[in-house]
């Protein structure tokens, strides 16, 4: 059981604070999603784990101790910009990265071949990276982060630009890696995919954690949510008059309701019966996207604007 801890990471770019005492941890054995609006500090935080961000204060710990170079070599990183040598042969490139991360020549060659095979690009080992299609380049990039079987895998937007088949491949690969006892953290803006792929999430905004926990907890926590459909009723006027009931959505008569005291599911059901024949009645979880919007909405929007433009310039 290993564990990555970010403890009080702070990074300022001039007047702008990209990371503001950011603290959270990632446990092995599960896939953790790293969420936040643009400019929230996700990339800066991930780079800090690899020593690529000069921190003003704070510590990155691995199993309770500050990360050493030897331990960092056992980490894998897929940056947002996906670095590979465009003119280098695919197989050689993976071997080289494997060796830089401490593998023996034979182990690096075997791992490179194994990953290319597993990701369905085995036939391209002797091709230059720049000659591959975009989808195959992304597969090779994923392989480059995994070639040394890292204890901690951090991926910055690994799903962006992938087709559905590619998303499935990445998702399965990350899940398999996590379930083999490794730490996996990845950032994404595709919240529905994150909800499917991740066991837990960390949501940050303005360089601070605003919410974190398992997906199960976050989506069931909080006020009860119902979906109710009453035959012949398109507007849901019956629900709008109930105390403590908010209609958050009306999808052609299927009302999505958020309950506050004194309302509870039983009283809403009774009210629905009196309004007409009930065709649908369900207690629903929150979607992760709702959790995200709620968590991020509390921050001041003016400050976020500044953070966004500044981190863009300072990167």
């Amino acid at each position: 059981m290993s564990r990555l801890e970010l403890d009080g990471l702070t990074r300022r770019y001039g007047p702008v604070t990209a990371l503001d005492h950011l603290s959270f941890s990632v446990s092995s054995g599960q896939v953790t999603g790293f969420l936040g609006p643009n400019g929230a500090g996700k990339t800066t935080a991930m780079r800090a784990v690899f020593g690529l961000t000069a921190l003003d204060s704070g510590t990155v710990r691995w199993n309770g101790r500050p990360v050493t170079l030897a331990e960092r070599r056992r980490f894998g990183y897929l940056p947002e910009d996906r670095g590979l040598y465009p003119g280098m042969l695919v197989g050689e490139q993976l071997e080289y990265l494997g060796r830089l991360h401490g593998l023996s020549p034979a182990a690096a060659a075997a791992a490179a071949a194994g990953w290319l095979d597993r990701l369905g690009v085995a036939g391209r080992a002797g091709d230059k990276v720049e000659s591959l299609s975009l989808g195959n380049q992304q597969r090779v990039q994923l392989a480059s982060a995994l070639v040394h079987n890292p204890d901690l895998l951090i991926l910055d937007e690994p799903l962006s630009g992938l087709d559905p088949a590619g998303i499935d491949t990445v998702g399965e690969t990350l899940a398999a890696h996590a379930h083999a006892g490794k730490c996996v953290l990845f950032s994404s803006h595709q919240l529905d995919l994150v909800e499917d792929l991740c066991e837990s999430v960390v949501i940050i905004d303005q360089g601070q954690v605003v919410t974190s926990g398992t997906v199960d907890d976050l989506t069931t926590r909080g006020r009860p949510r119902l979906v109710v459909r009453v035959a012949g009723d398109r507007d849901g006027a019956w629900a709008r008059s109930l105390a403590g009931v908010t209609v958050s959505e009306n999808d052609g008569g299927a009302l999505r309701l958020v309950l506050d005291p004194p309302a509870d599911p039983q009283s809403v059901l009774r009210a629905a019966f009196t309004a007409g024949p009930v065709e649908e009645f369900a207690v629903r979880r929150r979607r992760l996207s709702e959790v995200f919007r709620e968590a991020v909405a509390h921050g001041g929007s003016g400050r976020r604007q500044a953070t966004r433009s500044e981190t863009g310039a300072a990167r």
Partner: protein, 444 residues
């Protein structure tokens, strides 16, 4: 004529590099490796193991060496270096080849010792003399007019040439004619004096004693040409390797692979491995050039390398190493401040100025054989010493302690530059966007 050669060469080299940078000579050829299995097999691993270098620096250097040597830039560059070297050796040899084999017609009797002495005259002038038997004076005259022989000895009493030979004529034929005239006259006189053939042979073989001086003399053309060829190769190679370092650093930054690399290896070690790897590729090329030069010079009996003492070769190679070591850091640091290959253009020209200055000043000295005060000063400044000092050595104008002093200054300068370059590299390699301002790099 000789003074425009350095200018033409410099322009050609810069144009070549500029064209490569703008891609007008085409992108590196894409070659598909048919046998993917071959690639994946550990066949590639021996290259990595060959270098007994410590850990990650060795890995980075080995990759760099392998990619460079396989790349098109290396092949084209090597070809150009070999062309320059071959041209410098073969062309003068072809132009000067007339003097090397003279034909002397002999009509009437000529004693064996005198014949041997005439042949020996040819060797004294750095060529060969073939004796051609002529049936008579008429036949000899006909051969002279037709150019089949250069001069004729008639009955051991007269020398006949096609065109008049004046005392001030310094052509090879004229010099040989005067020598043969003197040899034959002396030889015949000795025989007339009644000496035995053996005594006559000893006296006929007599040659003026070699003369040496306490003060070093002005070097001859041969030595000048040799030091210029060395300079040319130095200039071309340094310009080329500097460009490799610059574009190599930009490649890593622009493709962002540097983020992946720096997650596993500290910046100073990545930079050191890169400089080392490109350096090894460079010296592989330089070694090839020297080997080809020596082989060719032997094959065509060129005198271009006669003045090439082991000392000159050692000085040139030493300064190739020192020059590369000094400039590699500068170019690597400069490369880390820009994002895209296109921006390399704006760096190549200002960074190349000291190289061009050193080359011009040194080549002027090499071609004139006269080490000016400027060259003697530039020989102690690390940016220009790689050009100025080897020229001083080949002109015999530097003693060992001056050489050592200049090398020591250069090494110290390299250490200082490497430190500054490391700081600039660390500060700017991970930053993208607009070019990093120099002032900001120093204040970080």
């Amino acid at each position: 004529m000789s003074s425009i050669i350095p200018i033409v060469v410099a322009i050609a080299a810069l144009a070549f590099i500029a064209l490569r940078k703008t891609g007008r000579l085409g992108p590196p050829g894409y070659r598909r490796e048919r046998d993917a299995a071959l690639m994946i097999s550990p066949a590639a691993a021996p290259t990595l193991r060959l270098l007994p270098l410590p850990g990650d620096v060795g890995l980075v250097a080995a990759r760099e060496l392998r990619v460079r040597v396989r790349g098109r830039a290396f092949r084209v560059g090597t070809l150009l270096v070999l062309l320059i070297v071959s041209g410098a050796i073969v062309i003068p040899a072809l132009i000067g080849s007339k003097a090397t084999a003279a034909r002397v017609g002999v009509a009437g009797p000529l004693s064996a010792p005198v014949r041997a002495a005439v042949v020996a005259d040819g060797h004294a002038f750095g060529g060969t003399v073939d004796l051609v038997a002529e049936p008579g004076e008429q036949a000899a005259a006909a051969d002279l007019r037709a150019g089949r022989i250069d001069l004729a000895v008639i009955d051991g009493r007269r020398i006949v040439t096609n065109k008049p030979v004046s005392a001030s004529d310094t052509s090879a034929t004229a010099q040989l004619t005067r020598a043969v005239a003197s040899t034959v006259g002396t030889g015949e006189a000795l025989q007339a004096a009644g000496l035995t053939p053996a005594q006559a042979a000893v006296i006929a073989g007599a040659r003026a004693l070699p003369v040496s001086s306490l003060q070093p003399g002005r070097p001859g053309t041969t030595q000048r040409n040799t030091s210029y060829v060395g300079l040319l190769v130095l200039f071309f190679m340094l310009t080329q390797y500097n460009a490799w370092t610059l574009t190599g650093v930009i490649e890593e930054k622009s493709s962002r692979i540097v983020e992946v690399l720096l997650a596993a290896i500290p910046p100073a070690r990545l930079l050191a491995g890169k400089v080392l790897g490109i350096g090894l590729a460079a010296f592989l090329q330089a070694g090839l050039a020297v080997a080809v030069a020596v082989t060719e010079a032997r094959a065509v009996h060129s005198d271009a390398l006669n003045g090439l003492t082991p000392l000159t070769v050692a000085a040139t190679l030493t300064w190739l190493v020192l020059g590369y070591a000094f400039y590699a850091w500068v170019y690597a640091a400069a490369g880390s401040t820009v994002d895209r290959q296109e921006q390399a253009q704006s760096l190549l020209i200002p960074l190349g100025l000291p190289v061009i200055l050193g080359y011009f000043v040194a080549s002027t000295a090499a071609l004139s054989g006269n080490p000016s005060v400027l060259v003697q000063v530039l020989a102690y400044l690390p940016p220009t010493a790689p050009f100025a000092m080897p020229v001083l050595v080949s002109l015999g104008a530097a003693s060992w302690w001056q050489f050592a002093l200049s090398a020591a200054i250069s090494v110290a300068g390299t250490v200082a530059v490497a430190r500054a370059a490391g700081a600039v590299y660390r500060a700017s390699i991970l930053r993208t966007g607009p070019r990093v301002p120099f002032r900001e790099l120093l204040t970080r």
